[in-house]
């Protein structure tokens, strides 16, 4: 179908990236900007937003019904893909990328686009560091793990203290919202909030700016269409880091 209905793709390869994260490669490429996402339809289960980790792959952490169903799929199985949707990261020349956990997925194409000078990569433990080899080939990676099994012990945020942030024109952040909120506090403190963009996760139904399920307070901006990438300035006085809404629209704390 030539319209906005799902494109059928066939899974060509499945890579175990970490104990809990897999990449699914499919047989059709999607032209996209780093940070854009697609709606992934797992037939008979549900449809979920996923960042593209390359032209023809998504990288997924097992967290719920749909991702569990996805993890049970095999090479040759089919998915439906709508998109890409959303805005993606603003282009920069000298980018600092900050990722936590599966948040490295939308940042990998940014790194491969050869504009990222430094990447701060965080995870709970060594085995959960996502895309380390690929990132290492393209940029200067600095690592933090909660348990200190590799790199700095502690949160990725702490790595910011050792950098000269004046070197960078953009700062791109993706990871768990608690981690992103602490990055937001840190960049505010360091006076570089205006350079910073965060990729948000919110429950979304339509993915194209119509249903309103992913609107954030107090701006009413739509994560799926006006985002998912927002400037730190917009997020500072917002629900970001405090609460989000579930499928019914009820607020839940982060």
């Amino acid at each position: 179908m030539a319209d906005g209905t799902p494109v059928t793709v066939t899974i060509t390869r499945i890579l175990n990236e970490t104990p809990n994260i897999r990449s699914f490669f499919f047989d059709q490429p999607f032209v996209f900007n780093p940070g854009q996402f697609v709606m992934v339809w797992v037939p008979g289960v549900d449809e979920i937003p996923m960042a593209l980790s390359s032209l023809n792959s998504i990288t997924v952490q097992k967290v719920g019904d749909a991702t569990s169903a996805l993890f049970s799929m095999k090479r040759g199985d089919k998915l439906g893909i709508r998109g890409p949707f959303g805005n993606g990261f603003t282009h920069g020349e000298k980018v600092l990328a900050i990722a936590g956990g599966v948040g490295a997925a939308p940042l990998l194409p940014l790194v491969k686009a050869d504009c990222v000078m430094t990447m701060l990569l965080g995870a709970k433990t060594e085995s959960e560091l996502l895309f380390l080899d690929q990132l290492d080939e393209c940029t200067d990676v600095v690592i933090a793990t909660d348990d200190g099994s590799q790199g700095n012990k502690g949160f990725v945020t702490t790595l910011l203290d050792d950098l000269n942030l004046a070197l960078y024109d953009r700062i791109a952040v993706c990871g768990p919202e608690v981690m992103m909120r602490s990055v937001l506090a840190k960049v505010t403190e360091k006076g570089v909030l205006h350079k910073t963009e965060f990729s948000l996760h919110r429950y979304m139904k339509c993915g194209m700016g119509v249903c309103g399920s992913c609107c954030i307070d107090p701006s009413g901006l739509r994560v799926c269409r006006d985002g998912p990438v927002f400037s730190g300035t917009i997020l500072q006085k917002s629900e970001f880091g405090h609460y989000m809404r579930d499928a019914s629209g009820r607020k839940k704390s982060i």
Partner: protein, 295 residues
Amino acid sequence: MVTIRPGPVNVGGVELQNHLLLAAGVLGTTGASLSRMLLLGAGGVVTKSIGPLPKEGHSGPCLVALEDGLLNAMGLPNPSKEFVDELAPLAKKPVVASIFGGNPEEFAEVAGWFSGKVAAAELNLSCPHAEGYGAAIGSDPALVEACTRAVVRTGLPAWVKLTPNVTDITAIGKAAEKGGASAIVAVNTVKAMRISTGLRRPVLGNRYGGLSGTAIFPIAVRCVYELYEAVKVPIIGCGGVSTADNVVELMMAGASAVEIGSAVHGDIQVFEKIRAALYAKDGVMASEIVGCAHG
């Protein structure tokens, strides 16, 4: 093009800022989103449909874009009573609460939550893809009348949104009028389906859904025209409006105001753009064109 002279707009007991309302189910899930749409030029906003209990809605896909419309089956996701708090910052604004229930009692209960807090209640008697709700009730004139009456008793002006998926929409419109409706909203989405030939199954998680957008505009015009000859209460046109000329056309069919939904997919600035094209100081009085295509 026909343009309209700006002036006060009072339809179905609600003072609107212009003739263009945000339709239910579109960007109406949070108070912030509704506020944004008022800022972006909507003359009034209708909330996401709120029901007696929280609902998560259908599994996805819930909405797909077609070449000339949108196909959706959200499944009436809503936070239920919690939603009342969302509207606190919107007091005195032209906000209409869309409500649904499985029977007159449930409609009354939900309407009661909003009494005194919104300008009107819009009864969703027309959602084509939620079992036991919406069109399941809205195709039965007796139930439509009873639900309308139950909401009227709460003191809110009752707008009744009709489904086009009936043999005779005028019978339903008359039932709403008999129940005391302050306005009729015509129409909700048209029951439809698309199938993914690649995946060999319907594209919506709920299989069946509702078609909106330009594809259904000629159906909306027809329904408004039919209703205008059948009822005396004001009609609010809805279905596929995306230009100022579409607004004029629905008004000539008999609409006193219009709701716009799917067109925000193309452009969230659609209210401001239509408003700029629709109004002119040397335009005609709105009352001159409402229903002028009859007789």
